[in-house]
Symmetry: C2
Subunit: 247 residues, 2 copies
DNA sequence: CGATAGTGTCTGATATCCCAGACAATGGAG
DNA sequence: CTCCATTGTCTGGGATATCAGACACTATCG
């Protein structure tokens, strides 16, 4: 425990609320975070005053407030990745008429920073600010492929499971990542959303570390223009690297 | 000051970082938040451990981290507005081929929750998680128009200024809001971004309070299909009301 | 290069925050 | 309706978090 426990606990509270798809009861917070109930009320009170939490008295529950949401705007401004990546991704999506996103690796997951939806395409499961396990997504695989073996071991938790909780073979992931390393392209086909496939390309920094990945999501049909997508996606990732890191 | 000052201060820290477009030095945090320097380092340390802040040693500055960004995903999930509004806005944007957004009123500002960019349209100034003064935007005007006079007085700070810092007449805003009230439509023309205009319609709850506004941004030319935009926008706002609040 | 200002880390005494617990209010089930 | 569980609010003493300050390190400027 840190030297500023109240500060740490309020951050744990926000993280907890963000992980829940529904507003949460104070007693659940106390139980799940292992904090005294009265302390939780204090934290909720101060977080409410500051706009990070809203109390829903009718439901006797708490949810994140506008100030929590607003951090995303600040993050996006401070992060060159999102700021420089967005217009490039927008152009790519306009050209290909398929939806795309920019994601970063965060622990064992990918975190989606930018999403560009193409016309007549559904909103993606990869909503901004949402996480998915890296090993299940094209973006995640592209980035994992670019890590050193030690980094990869640290990033990927065992045992591996699919999106539905079934076991997944490490050898299968290993083979996919080897292919991604060789071709520069990572793929995902129907594993996140049936009927949809994705291609991902890592955006590497000067040290070869995957700072991000760009991906395009398309219908998994036989006539999908995979070669076109692959070459445009790769060119866009290279351009983003150039803008971010110089070349 | 609250009964949990460390919790409050770490939230103030996050708010401060979110308000800065660039990473920030610890000494600036201490100075501007009026906190002891050593306390700031403690807060930054715990926020870093929890992923809410990242330290950029090369610049000797601090920025928001991925956990801060991730709160936006949680917020969007918990908020029916964003969840139910996004697909409706997506359809509207696909139909009109113009970009649109969904915003809420927060203090004197609008806060953008959802943005849908149309093909070949620029990324909007109204990036998600960003604020603009309500009185300058179509969404904000639509919502201000729907407030009671007392609520409006509380929401709109005087003196009014334009985006470039010039004075703006309260009588002019008053006239615009009266028109918006009469027609159900609020407009903004070149004031946020030269050459671009927006139309906004408020989404009212059962008590007639503006829970949100939908807006469409388009080129401010004489041949813009304003009537088409107006009727589609209004229909979408009514549908969102129906889905959120029943009718 | 040296001087200076700023950054980061650490310390410890004392003021204050945190926790356990009590009580009031509310909601739901039988 | 009563009973019980849950939610929300409040209290106060002792453990500990906080603040002022010291020191080491780093970057910049003349």
């Amino acid at each position: 425990m840190s030297s500023v426990p109240a500060a740490e606990n309020v951050l744990r509270l926000l993280t907890y609320l963000a992980a829940h798809r529904r507003p949460v009861a104070a007693s659940a917070v106390a139980r799940d975070l292992g904090l005294p109930r009265s302390s939780v009320y204090h934290l909720l009170a101060v977080a409410s005053e500051r706009g990070f939490v809203v109390h829903l008295p009718a439901e006797r529950r708490y949810a994140l407030g506008p100030a929590a949401f607003e951090l995303s705007g600040g993050y996006a401004s401070q992060q060159p990745l999102a700021r420089l990546g967005r217009p490039l991704l927008a152009q790519l999506v306009d050209r290909l008429r398929e939806s795309g996103h920019l994601a970063v690796l965060h622990g064992a997951d990918v975190l989606y920073l930018v999403e560009e939806r193409a016309p007549r395409r559904p909103s993606l499961v990869s909503d901004v600010g949402v996480r998915l396990p890296a090993h299940l997504t094209a973006s995640g695989r592209a980035m994992l492929a670019a890590l050193s073996p030690a980094q990869r071991r640290a990033a990927v938790p065992l045992p591996l499971v699919t999106r539905h909780g079934d076991p997944m073979s490490p050898a299968r992931l290993h083979a996919m990542l080897a292919t991604a390393r060789r071709t520069g392209l990572a793929v995902e086909d129907g594993e996140v959303t049936p009927g949809l496939a994705s291609m991902g390309v890592a955006v590497l920094d000067r040290a070869g570390w995957p700072a991000a990945a760009l991906a395009i999501t398309f219908r998994a049909s036989d006539d999908a223009p995979r070669n076109e997508i692959a070459s445009q996606l790769t060119a866009t990732a290279r351009e983003l690297e150039r803008r971010l890191f110089g070349s």
